[in-house]
Amino acid sequence: MDKIELGQHILSRYNEDLEQLRTDVLQMGGLAESQLRQALHALATSDSSLATEVANLEVRVNQMEIDIDDECNRTLATRAPAASDLRLVIAIIKTITDLERVGDEAHKIANIVARRGGLERGSVDGHRIVRHLGNVALELLHDALDVFARLDAPAALAAVRRDRQIDEEYDAIQRQCMTFMIEDPRTIRAMIDLMWVARALERVGDHAKNICEYVIYMVGGRDVRHVAIEDVERQLEAHAATAAAELAPSAGTGS
């Protein structure tokens, strides 16, 4: 079963409930995404008023997490979903936790701007160092929400792969920060702030990756957490080959 259809339940209210749940998750994802976008903008412009806005969005994201969780509880209790419906609800419960944490990370970045008025721009331009990482993390989050909306497992796998790029970038920033600190201890405070920002962005990448993994689970029922990407790809290829063989007319002999 590599296709997932939400509609066509005999109970039309059930269709509507599941569709509503999915819409809510995407809305929450949109909020978390704009939270991160604003936090990065605040960082770029050292604008602490934008940082306050990020905090306001945080309240809404948190409330949505609670509401969607309640709705999932109700669905589990009253509808006893099975198979793809069950996987959808389970994936949603997990996805919203990650989205809420994306919001937390955005909030952390905004806090640094609010407290310190942004990254110091003395001898080292901190913002320039994390700008690229910020863009990649934001893009990955956007793609994760996109594959969630389209239930596109191959695209989800491609996105999972891109998390590595973020991890490498994060390592590079860490090394850079350490070099600066060794060269000039006066940069230590600024570099620690910078490392916090980089750390937050790296975590956003992880959360986006998790969401992609839930999408793969939701669509094909395969749990790919803690599995090497190459193994997952091999499994998917093998599965596709089997499915193609089953579709061949000679194999359609029923029992």
């Binding site: 079963m1 066509q8 006893a80 198979a83 793809s84 996987r87 029923g254 029992s255």
Partner: protein
């Protein structure tokens, strides 16, 4: 149909030691892989000209619960009834294929096999509790008397054992000679289970055993079935999919007389491989 090819030799010693397809290495209770108690091979059944079962192939795992699910008229009760030859008296009915019972490898639907012998080894419990209009103890003794057991002490011991096995002893031990029909619906159903247990069967067939019972009585029967699997192989037809998911180790989904999918229950209810199964268990069928 999605059962992996299972190597079945006629005298197949390695066949019944073979693992049941779709079986996890360990089940939820930490038991090792199940071996088949019975193997259904190309089983077809006809009510006159109507073919009710179409070449069904599946193993029945030893001392595990196998659930049969599917919409009304899909042949699951017909399938269940083949196991103790309930169709024999139906005029014009005909079996094809075989149900091989291990370890002796006798064919349950073979002409040479006496249905009475089959029913001694394979008990059945029906949808509506149907105790005989006699006392509680007499109901349990019935099969044993048929077998020629006469000793009062022996019979009394067997009654106690069967009633304990059916989790009914504590409720009826002071009124064993009271009429069975005075019991509540749930108690009557457990009495029927005790009656089936009395002859020490290897397999018990349940045809929607809880559909006429309230949730509490249902829970007691489910608990009992979970305990029974220690000793006997259980095959159960149910319309309640949550019940199948709760109590069975393996589930078979049937549709229009065909076996569509057979898999471990955990797999079938979370990630079925056939679209028809998916549609049915998620309520999209129709």
């Amino acid at each position: 149909m999605n059962v992996d090819a299972n190597p079945v030799g006629a005298a197949g010693a390695p066949a019944f030691a073979a693992r049941v397809p779709g079986a996890p290495a360990e089940d939820a209770n930490g038991n090792g892989p199940a071996s088949p108690r019975a193997l259904v091979q190309d089983l077809s059944f006809y009510y006159g000209p109507n073919q009710a079962l179409k070449r069904v192939n599946m193993p029945i795992a030893d001392r595990r619960v196998t659930a049969l699910i599917g919409p009304s008229g899909c042949g699951k009760s017909t399938f269940l009834r083949c196991f103790n030859r309930m169709h024999d008296l139906q005029p014009g009915s005909r079996y094809e294929g075989s149900i091989i019972l291990h370890p002796e490898n006798i064919d349950l639907v073979g002409r040479e096999v006496d249905p009475i012998d089959v029913r001694m080894r394979i008990g059945m419990v029906f949808q509506k509790p149907n105790p005989f209009p006699t006392s509680i103890a007499e109901n349990v003794c019935y099969g044993l008397r048929l077998r020629g057991m006469r000793g009062r002490v022996q019979l009394a011991e067997a009654v106690e054992r069967a009633l304990r096995g059916a989790a009914l002893w504590d409720e009826v031990k002071d009124r064993l000679h009271a009429p069975a029909l005075a019991l509540s619906g749930g108690q009557m159903q457990r009495l029927c289970i005790a009656r089936a247990l009395a002859t020490n069967p290897e397999m018990i067939l349940f045809d929607e055993p809880t559909s006429a019972l309230d949730p509490i009585a249902t829970a007691k029967i489910e608990e009992l079935i979970a305990a029974l699997r220690e000793q006997v192989t259980v095959l159960i037809v149910t319309h309640n999919m949550q019940q199948a998911a709760r109590i069975s180790d393996y589930t078979a989904f049937m549709f229009l007389g065909e076996l569509v999918e057979y898999a471990s229950t955990a797999k079938l209810f979370t990630n079925p491989s056939q679209k028809r199964t998916e549609d049915y268990i998620t309520g999209r069928y129709g």
